[in-house]
């Protein structure tokens, strides 16, 4: 089943086409890799799916609905979660509170909890707390629940980013270079978590990543962008062996220095 259809998606900055006439189909429950040389337009695509950047033209159809013109928070409410490139976390909140912030949209918190703590508001809070702890268990951060999020080591911060995204109950994760700046051990752990997300929770992921070896091992399918155009798509094995892709990365034989 197709979860996300991208049709004819373009984004121009002035006269420059960062992404042009892109078509992509992302299936439910797959890990989809988006790769390409620097400046190929990978992050631009991710930003357009997430909603932080408006497309110049084209459609982004998620669960049958065109979301291309919706603001980011509306897309989040429909089930798209962003995991940002840098450690974008709520800096003044604890690890647990970060996850609670992530789940805040799914909780139908009304005005009744503000002035008087009604039993239903209290129950809701307890429920949210328990769910948040479950997310932390998933990313192995239960012990650090009450630490400030910014005091975690880099790898753990990225794991927390996943937990925050998970707390939004998203179906689709957009991961912007999730492995950057990690050591091998952390990379393994992160890849394991992304796989578990797919296998246990049926979560679909789109990953933009430079680490080709990791992408090859992790992704079910890959698309390669170059100068804002899709030059290849398919199984990782096929794509990496594709002649056009090799040329895009390494330059045409003979022309490179």
């Amino acid at each position: 089943m197709v979860l996300l259809e991208i049709r004819n998606l373009s984004r121009r900055f002035g006269g420059l086409a960062a992404v042009s006439e892109l078509d992509l189909d992302i299936n439910q429950g797959e890990i989809f890799g988006l790769i390409g040389p620097n400046g190929a337009g990978k992050s631009t695509v991710l930003n357009m799916i997430g909603g932080t950047l408006a497309p110049t033209s084209g459609k982004i159809i998620f669960n049958g609905e065109d979301i291309a013109r919706l603001p980011p928070f509306q897309r989040a409410r429909r089930g798209i979660a962003r995991v940002f490139q840098r450690d974008v976390l709520f800096r003044s909140l604890t690890v647990l509170e970060n996850v609670l912030a992530g789940s805040s949209l799914s909780s139908k918190s009304g005005l009744d909890g503000i002035f008087v703590k009604t039993p239903s508001a209290r129950n809701r809070e307890k429920e949210m707390y328990e769910k948040a702890m479950e997310m932390l268990r998933f990313v192995n951060l239960v012990q650090q629940a009450d630490e400030m999020a910014v005091n975690l080591p880099h790898g753990n911060q990225r794991a927390l980013c996943l937990a925050v995204a998970l707390a939004t109950k998203a179906q689709l994760f957009l991961l912007d270079e999730p492995l950057t700046g990690m050591n091998n051990e952390e990379i393994e752990a992160m890849m394991g978590m992304i796989r578990t997300l797919r296998d246990e929770k049926g979560i679909t992921s789109i990953i933009v990543e430079h680490n080709i070896r990791a992408v090859k091992g992790l992704c079910d399918r890959i698309a390669v962008l170059d100068y804002g155009k899709k030059i290849a798509e398919g199984l990782p094995r096929e794509v990496v062996a594709n002649k056009t892709v090799i040329e895009a990365y390494l330059g045409v034989e003979g022309s490179a220095v």
Partner: protein
């Protein structure tokens, strides 16, 4: 848990008792008037801090107080409406203006937001200055009535009396602070903090950042308006002079009260306003040098105790440890 509750109840009871007894103990119209103004300022500074929860600093909060003050004052003098109603309407007018302005204003952050609010307040002040036929212009708006007397069980309370007005202010400010406190500690306040941290992540977990910013600013300005209305019906006259209530200097004082008190805690603006107002009052003999003194205090705090008065215990501990280390090294 119950022990914590007991402490809170005790502190509240003691505070309430002090607030009730104070004007009777002071027995001075002058000092009670000062207390009324402190109460009003506490509300303005606390509502300023509500905006700060989003990371925004308003340098034009007096502008919304001005709307509340002139709005309520004009409705009462020109239309003869009940002051009880006009005070609320004054707050509402400030809120409506804030709601309208929040849409363009909250697109920017930091210094830009501060400048926009500053210029708005100055514009509003100058409009009241030049619009002689409506606002009284630079002569000011005069003969603003007090709230009408109320009768409770055969007892008539007349609000021309400074003590009754003091109690009225105390009640309104207390209720307003309670509302602001509960908002801050609710899921709304939680989302506001999240937005201050990173609005990019906040919106991508589904928080409607724009709506929350507008809501926050509107609520804060409503209370600034209420404070303005309280001021108007206490003073019975309003002046648009730059050196009076609605000038730039006052806006800056409000920020200084907040910073010196400490913006990290709800009690910060309250403590800051009380302490600085009393210091300022006691230093009345300094005359025109008073603003300089407040400035000096602000500088000392920013450099030495950036957490403000609420962070003083923590700072003292730090200094004590440092001192201990120094003396140990000296004796070794």
């Amino acid at each position: 848990m119950s022990r914590k509750l007991l402490i809170i109840i005790t502190i509240t009871a003691v505070l309430a008792a002090v607030i009730i007894i104070l004007p009777l103990a002071l027995n001075s119209v002058y000092w009670t008037s000062i207390l009324v103004l402190i109460g009003i300022n506490i509300l303005v500074v606390s509502s300023l801090r509500t905006i700060k929860l989003l990371g925004h600093i308003s340098l034009g909060h007096v502008g919304f107080s001005l709307i509340g003050a002139y709005g309520s004052g004009l409705l009462a003098t020109k239309l003869g409406l009940s002051v009880w109603l006009t005070m609320f309407l004054g707050g509402l007018m400030a809120a409506v203006l804030a709601l309208v302005l929040s849409y363009p204003f909250l697109k920017v952050k930091g210094i830009y937001f501060a400048l926009l609010t500053l210029l708005t307040a100055e514009t509003l002040r100058l409009i009241t200055w030049y619009w002689k036929g409506f606002t009284g212009g630079f002569w000011g708006l005069l003969k603003i009535p007090s709230p009408g007397p109320i009768v409770i069980g055969g007892l008539t309370i007349d609000f021309n009396n400074v003590n009754s007005y003091y109690y009225l202010t105390a009640i309104i400010v207390a209720i307003s602070l309670f509302i602001l406190y509960r908002l801050e500690n609710s899921h709304l306040g939680f989302k506001w903090r999240a937005i201050q941290d990173t609005d990019v992540l906040a919106q991508s977990v589904g928080i409607n950042v724009k709506w929350h910013k507008m809501l926050n600013f509107t609520i804060a300005c409503f209370f600034a308006g209420i404070a303005g209305a309280l001021f108007a019906h206490f003073q019975h006259s309003l002046s648009p002079d730059a050196n009076a209530r609605f000038g730039v200097l006052m806006s800056i004082y409000l920020v200084v009260y907040m910073v010196v008190g400490g913006e990290s805690k709800f009690s910060g603006p309250i403590i800051g306003t009380v302490v600085l107002s009393i210091i300022s009052e006691l230093a009345r003999g300094l005359g025109e040098y008073r603003p300089m003194m407040i400035g000096a205090i602000a500088i000392v705090f920013i450099l030495l105790i950036p957490e403000g008065l609420v962070g003083l215990p923590f700072r003292c501990k730090l200094w004590y440890r440092k001192l201990l280390r120094l003396t140990q090294r000296g004796s070794a």
